[in-house]
């Protein structure tokens, strides 16, 4: 049950961290790299941000996924890290409780 709960937490947090990091790196790229025409890659080359001339002469901006592999990898690594953190935390908590019990007895 505890294992299932930890896996659930790890996947949810991993997803949120991936979405948040992707959003932040996209926003940062959009503003930091200026408005010159062209395609820029961000988030370990997983996402792209593009500025191009539109048909009516106006500048058009677009963004999307360039390559899913780094995104999936990032999600897996974040989820595994959160899972490892939770397991370590549970172990340390158990160890602390054991020490307190030993001292009490």
């Amino acid at each position: 049950m505890k294992l299932l709960r930890n896996i659930g937490i790890a996947i949810t947090v991993g997803f949120i961290v991936t979405a948040a990091t992707a959003t932040l790196s996209m926003i940062f790229t959009m503003f930091a790299e200026g408005s010159e025409l062209g395609r820029r890659l961000t988030f370990f080359d997983g996402l792209f941000f593009e500025v191009r001339d539109g048909a009516n002469g106006a500048i058009q901006m677009g963004f999307g996924v360039h390559d899913f592999t780094p995104i999936v990898l990032f999600f897996v690594i974040s989820s595994v890290s959160v899972f490892a953190f939770l397991v370590a935390l549970n172990f340390l908590r158990g160890y602390r409780a054991k020490l307190i019990d030993e001292r009490a007895s």
Partner: protein, 240 residues
């Protein structure tokens, strides 16, 4: 026996036990007075009996069944020391709500009589939010008197109610502890406890110091007050 408490120990923090190996029984048709200094473990013991705290050591049985069972919960009623009630309900709605939880119905005429007896005539249809502290306590008492559980536990609920209501309670609690029902009253009002109860449980530092009939207490000490004073004097003598 309505209640069997057997070798119950409890601690909130591992290193600080609150109750030590507490055992006692409550038979039918008895009002039991539970007394003890602040921090002696009275409220903890009561919360354990009504399963508001998780029992780790010992056993508690209500009517022969585990205190966590649904049957036990249906048999008992607990009147908390605070006046934390659903303020969004009126007094009469609260009574119907509590009754429905016990699978019972409230006799409206009887409820009106009780409201009048406790000086709350015409207030039954007001929101609890608009009740005073004393009125909330009285409402809790009325609920207990109408629902007549096998075991009613009153944890300092009487604090803050007026004299008329206190006198009414003294006679009502006697009739509540009849027909196989019992009541545990926890209070610091020793004079009232002497008038209503048949047995005394004195708890100190998490130990049962006294578990005697009121007749025995009167015979040996003359009053609950004298017993408590005697204990406190002995305790003070033992201090370095």
């Amino acid at each position: 026996m309505i209640l069997n408490v057997d070798s119950v120990s409890f601690s909130y923090k591992r290193s600080f036990p609150v109750l030590h190996d507490v055992s006692f029984e409550v038979p039918e048709n008895e009002v039991v007075a539970l007394v003890g200094p602040n921090g002696s473990g009275k409220s903890t013991l009561i919360k354990l009996i009504v399963d508001l705290l998780h029992l780790r050591d010992g056993s508690i049985r209500l009517g022969g069944q585990d205190n966590g069972s649904r049957e036990s919960k249906m048999r008992s009623m607990y009147l908390a020391s605070n006046d934390y009630l659903p303020e969004f309900l009126t007094g009469s709605e609260y009574l119907h709500f509590v009754a429905s939880l016990y699978g019972e119905t409230i006799d409206r005429a009887e409820a009106v009589k009780k409201f009048a007896r406790y000086q709350m005539m015409g207030r039954a249809d007001e929101l609890i939010e608009d009740y005073s502290h004393g009125m909330r306590k009285k409402l809790q008492l009325i609920a207990a008197l109408l629902l007549k559980r096998e075991l009613t536990i009153i944890d300092e609920t009487l604090n803050g109610i007026d004299l008329d209501a206190a006198y009414a309670f003294e006679s009502d609690v006697q009739s509540l502890a009849r027909d196989g029902r019992s009541v545990i009253v926890c209070s610091h009002d020793f004079a009232m406890l002497q008038r209503v109860s048949q047995r005394l449980l004195f708890l100190a530092h998490g130990f049962i110091v006294t578990d005697d009939s009121m007749t025995e207490v009167f015979g040996e000490y003359g009053s609950i007050d004298a017993l408590v004073r005697d204990y406190l004097r002995e305790e003070a003598d033992e201090l370095p």
